[in-house]
């Protein structure tokens, strides 16, 4: 480099800094505020030690009950009146006009401006276990674990279409850019899994292809993106290209990662962007996953009896059952939030047949997961949540049912939730939740879920665009009655 070159470069640097001084400092100040949330020294709390995120809260607000959660998301909206909430009066009204007093002025999805006819359930129900839950014959395996689950019948949400309803269930809002509940948990508590992402998503579907689920559902929104969910492949290897190509050994790979981290470190010092920290952490995690993922996916250690319990034909075949088994293995490895979507519950038509098919795909594995966790002693600190983004109308839509937000059912098991109880109720036609102290809005579900982790939902906040946000926004009531 000649002296003139050097001079030129220096001048450019000066010009560059003059030009961008104001903008740069504004940006730096903004990211400093953000960075301070991540930087332990600025916070006085050791949220991050040796590159390991230990959670914003450092310690839960109060004694936790649960350490991890498995969310079995029945995407599409399972019909509550056919599964967990039998309505004899609805059956009696079958085929007759649905009482207008229930529906007048109410929001409907596809049944708007049509003649509303009551549609009874064609499925039988049994009183199950010592708990006496009424559970549909569609779910014989769930019937058998009745004493381990808490059925919530008073769920209600605000969003009547799939994508916004999923967003609402995940983030408590339909506005884009809000973090999902898994991201909130990672941000608050960190994850004990070091070699795997703390928030893993698995997808399955059937019968047939159903409504898609967008990846924004497990986005970290305005939280740093290291807290977003990572979708694993359900079929074959959970992560593609996890092995090294020919000619690259682990030590070479290690050197590359370290050098990239060093360079990224320079960049991080200059621009104070938390996304660079995310990038460094992701490289490191990806390196660790080169060994952890093959181990995770190696189902050969699962004996035939366990495969039979879940109903897995071929591990890694992309089925819900295989995902459930994988979920247990993820839970054993300390993953904080495991979310399984099964697309196949959107029954606008041919409900009777499709319900039978989808229940066949989901029932056994869901129950097996609870049982398997229980016999391994993991159910006491693993929360299992089973349910969709909304319910289905007690009014018929031809041979099916439409979307319904005023009432739906979910169940929870383990993680310090009282087993064997029914929480909340709906009116005599299953149209609307009863607005008593057992009513469960999605915000209330979030508040209760956080409470099982020892988190006061009003205190887990993140400042974005000038205001403090939380998962439950300005709502949320913990259902203390279902906490053991």
């Amino acid at each position: 480099m000649t002296p003139s070159d050097l001079h030129h470069l220096r001048a450019q640097q000066v010009a560059w800094s003059r030009r961008t001084f104001l903008g740069k400092s504004a940006q730096a100040l903004g990211s400093l505020a953000l960075g301070s949330l991540l930087n332990p020294r600025l916070l006085g709390a050791a949220s991050e030690v040796d590159g390991r995120w230990r959670g914003m809260l450092r310690a839960p607000h109060f004694m936790p009950r649960a350490k991890r959660i498995i969310h079995l998301c029945m995407a599409g909206g399972p019909s509550h009146v056919d599964l967990f909430d039998p309505k004899p009066i609805l059956n009696r009204l079958h085929g007759q006009p649905f009482p207008e007093s229930f529906t007048r002025g109410q929001q409907l999805a596809q049944l708007q401006n049509t003649v509303l006819l009551a549609r009874g359930s064609t499925f039988g129900f049994k009183r199950c276990g010592l708990a006496g839950h009424m559970i549909s014959d569609l779910l014989p395996h769930t019937q058998a674990i009745a004493d381990d689950i808490c059925v919530i019948r008073s769920m209600h949400t605000e969003q009547i279409n799939h994508d916004p309803a999923h967003a609402f269930m995940n983030t408590g809002s339909i506005i884009k850019g809000r973090p999902s509940m898994g991201s909130w948990l990672l941000y608050g508590l960190g994850s004990e899994a070091e070699n795997l992402p703390g928030y893993v998503v698995l997808m399955s579907n059937g019968p047939g292809a159903d409504q898609p689920v967008s990846a924004r559902q497990w986005s970290s929104g305005f939280l740093p993106s290291r807290f977003q969910g990572v979708q694993f492949q359900s079929k074959g290897s959970p992560v593609h290209y996890v092995g090294n190509p020919d000619g690259v050994c682990q030590s070479t790979q290690r050197q590359v990662i370290e050098e990239v981290a060093r360079l990224n470190g320079f960049h991080a010092e200059q621009s104070l962007d938390p996304e660079i920290q995310t990038r460094i952490a992701q490289y490191e995690l990806a390196f660790k996953m080169q060994t952890s993922v093959p181990d995770l996916a190696d189902m050969s250690s699962e004996p035939q009896s366990i495969r039979d319990l879940y109903g897995v034909k071929n591990p890694g075949d992309g089925s819900f059952a295989s995902n459930c088994l994988l979920a247990r293995r993820l839970a054993e490895r300390g993953v904080r939030f495991i979310q399984l979507y099964h697309r196949g519950w959107d029954h606008h038509g041919d409900l009777d047949n499709r319900m039978q098919q989808v229940c066949k795909l989901c029932d056994q594995a869901s129950a097996a997961l609870v049982q398997d966790l229980k016999q391994r002693g993991m159910l006491e600190d693993t929360l299992v949540l089973w349910g969709g983004e909304f319910g289905r109308t007690p009014m018929g839509q031809g041979t099916g049912r439409d979307h319904h937000i005023n009432a739906f059912s979910v169940w929870m098991a383990g993680g310090g939730i009282k087993p064997g109880i029914t929480w909340g109720s709906t009116d005599e036609l299953g149209y609307k939740y009863i607005p008593d102290d057992q009513a469960m809005h999605v915000h209330d579900l979030h508040a209760t879920m956080l409470a099982t982790f020892g988190i006061d939902h009003t205190k887990l906040t993140y400042r974005s665009q000038g205001r403090d946000f939380r998962l439950t926004d300005v709502h949320g009531k913990v259902a203390t009655g279902i906490l053991a």
Partner: protein, 558 residues
């Protein structure tokens, strides 16, 4: 009608304040009139006040008489109070007459006398309701001499009796003895009351005192009555423990060898401060150092307490006995400890002895055997223990008897049999809490049944202890039954092989399917081709009425 009278009688303590107020205020107003600038009462107003006061005094005395008919009061005290109360009513009318007749000279004296008698009568009334020592009781704890060494304290005079004194004696004492029951002295206590003895030494469930204590607060018979100070949970537990121990009155605490939890409560009762929890800041600092050194996860469990959760599982075989010993600095603060899948051994478990506050312990899939469990004996607070896939057998399980708070045991893929678990459950001192084990025993049975079935062992021997490498072969599906109710257990082939079960006279179960108590061989019932034993006639009747309700419990067969 009787109830109305009773209601009016109960109104006496309320009504009594009206004449008191009226006469005291009247006296004050008359005294005030001595000062020139204070306005005097007009004669008409005085007549009115005196008349109202006299009428209320009379009504109150009548209410009081109604209340006295209710009974339960000390006779002499009641007599005194009654006479003085009637005197007040009489004096009130005399006073009214004095005023109407215009005898100004003795009016002042008569008014003073009325107020004085009123005060004395009121005092005795107070003694009747609240007990003799009510006024001075707040000074009592200071004057009571408490032994500083809980072991040397007398179990009755220092621990149990103070509870009764504080909670019961105001209504069951020398001044007021409802139901003819008195708790103030030992003789009275043992004598019992109208409905018989207050308790039965050695039998908590048959003790009236305990029964009433546990009734819902709203129940009429609940004691102490709603509105009165209630027993704390610890006090109730202590009473139960004392009765269970045979209600000794002369023994020292040490002679009864109370379990650790009870010992703690006794110490608290004696006012001896409990051992303070470990210091939060010190524990967090130590935790961080250990986390870094051993590369395990040690986290505080809440934002205020010092309690920690440690997870060594992710280190797998890299975490062994040496590493476990390195946890010593945080041992008193450990609440949850996960050693599952690590390389800890029996010998290493000796390090657990210092973890006195441990609530949850995972030892699943380790090399721990029966010998190692002996080290768990000092863990008096342990609530949950995971021994899944270890070589534990029934023998080792019995060493867990010393753990009073143990609630959850995970024994899948171990050598433990349902009988062994049931034996442990029975050994737990608190028989009433045995129900919590039922589900776990059933679960174990279901597992073992399924294993026998699918592994096709076909022999009555207990399942081979599951060593890690053989797990794959022995583990069997815990088949999810499609029946909604827990399936009634059928007699397994092994049971048939036993000579005992061939004899028709022996019931197939050891414990009553209804109550869970041991069976009485004389009370039996044939059901579904099996002879089922019950603990009592009542349980048999309840079973007959609805046999389907109790299938799970028949499972505890021999």
């Amino acid at each position: 009608m009787d109830q109305l009278w009773l209601l009016l009688g109960r109104l006496h303590p309320v009504a009594v304040h009206l004449p008191i107020g009226i006469f005291v205020l009247l006296a004050l107003v008359e005294l005030g009139a001595l000062f020139p600038r204070v306005q005097r009462l007009t004669p008409a107003l005085r007549t009115f006040v005196l008349a109202v006061g006299a009428l209320f005094a009379l009504a109150t005395a009548f209410f009081g008489w109604l209340l006295a008919r209710d009974g339960g009061y000390d006779a002499t005290l009641l007599d005194r109070h009654q006479n003085l109360g009637l005197a007040v009513a009489a004096l009130a009318f005399v006073l009214l007459a004095v005023h109407l007749l215009g005898w100004r000279r003795i009016y002042g004296g008569a008014l003073a006398l009325t107020v004085l008698v009123l005060a004395v009568a009121g005092h005795f009334g107070g003694v009747l309701t609240h007990g003799e020592s009510y006024l001075t009781a707040f000074a009592a704890p200071a004057t009571r001499q408490t032994p500083t060494d809980p072991a040397r304290a007398n179990v009755f005079t220092d621990v149990i009796h103070p509870i009764l004194q504080q909670r019961c004696v105001s209504c069951h004492g020398p001044t007021k003895s409802n139901g003819d029951l008195r708790y103030d002295t030992l003789e009275h206590l043992l004598a019992g009351g109208k409905t018989g003895p207050a308790f039965k030494p050695g039998n908590v469930t048959a003790s009236l005192m305990i029964k009433r204590m546990h009734l819902p607060l709203d129940a009429k018979e609940h004691m102490p009555p709603k509105g009165k100070p209630q027993l704390t949970d610890d006090e109730a537990t202590l009473l139960e423990w004392w009765i269970e121990a045979g209600a000794p009155t002369e023994k020292r605490v040490a002679e009864l060898a109370p379990p650790p939890l009870i010992a703690e409560m006794i110490a608290a009762q004696l006012g001896i401060p409990p051992t303070p929890p470990p210091d939060r800041a010190a524990m967090l600092a130590a935790a961080e150092a250990i986390e870094r050194e051993l590369d395990i996860i040690v986290r505080p469990l809440s934002a205020d307490g010092p309690w920690l959760a440690a997870n060594a599982r992710l280190q797998l075989e890299k975490f062994g006995d040496a590493q476990l010993a390195r946890l010593a600095p945080i041992a008193p603060a450990l609440y949850w400890l996960d050693l599952g899948e690590t390389a800890v051994t029996d010998a290493g478990l000796a390090s657990l002895a210092a973890m006195k506050n441990l609530r949850r312990l995972h030892l699943d899939r380790t090399a721990v055997t029966d010998a190692g469990l002996a080290h768990l004996a000092p863990l008096g607070q342990l609530e949950s223990l995971n021994l899944h896939a270890t070589r534990i057998t029934n023998t080792g399980l019995q060493t867990l008897r010393a753990l009073p708070r143990l609630r959850s045991l995970y024994l899948w893929q171990t050598g433990v049999t349902p009988d062994g678990l049931e034996k442990l459950a029975r050994a737990q001192t608190d028989q009433r809490k045995i129900s919590r084990w039922k589900a776990q025993i059933a679960q174990l049975e279901a597992n073992i049944r399924a294993e026998h079935f699918t592994a096709n062992l076909g022999s009555p021997q207990p399942p081979v202890p599951a060593a890690t490498e053989t797990t794959a072969k022995i583990v069997a599906p815990t088949k999810v039954k499609s029946t909604p109710k827990p399936a009634p257990v059928t007699v397994t082939e092994e049971a048939d092989d036993e000579p005992n079960s061939a004899a028709p006279a022996a019931p197939v179960n050891a414990t009553c399917p209804v109550s869970g108590e041991p069976i009485d061989a004389a009370v039996t019932e044939m059901f579904d081709g099996k002879l089922i034993g019950f603990c009592c006639e009542d349980c048999r009747a309840r079973f007959r009425a609805n046999p389907g309700k109790f299938p799970l419990k028949i499972a505890t067969q021999r």
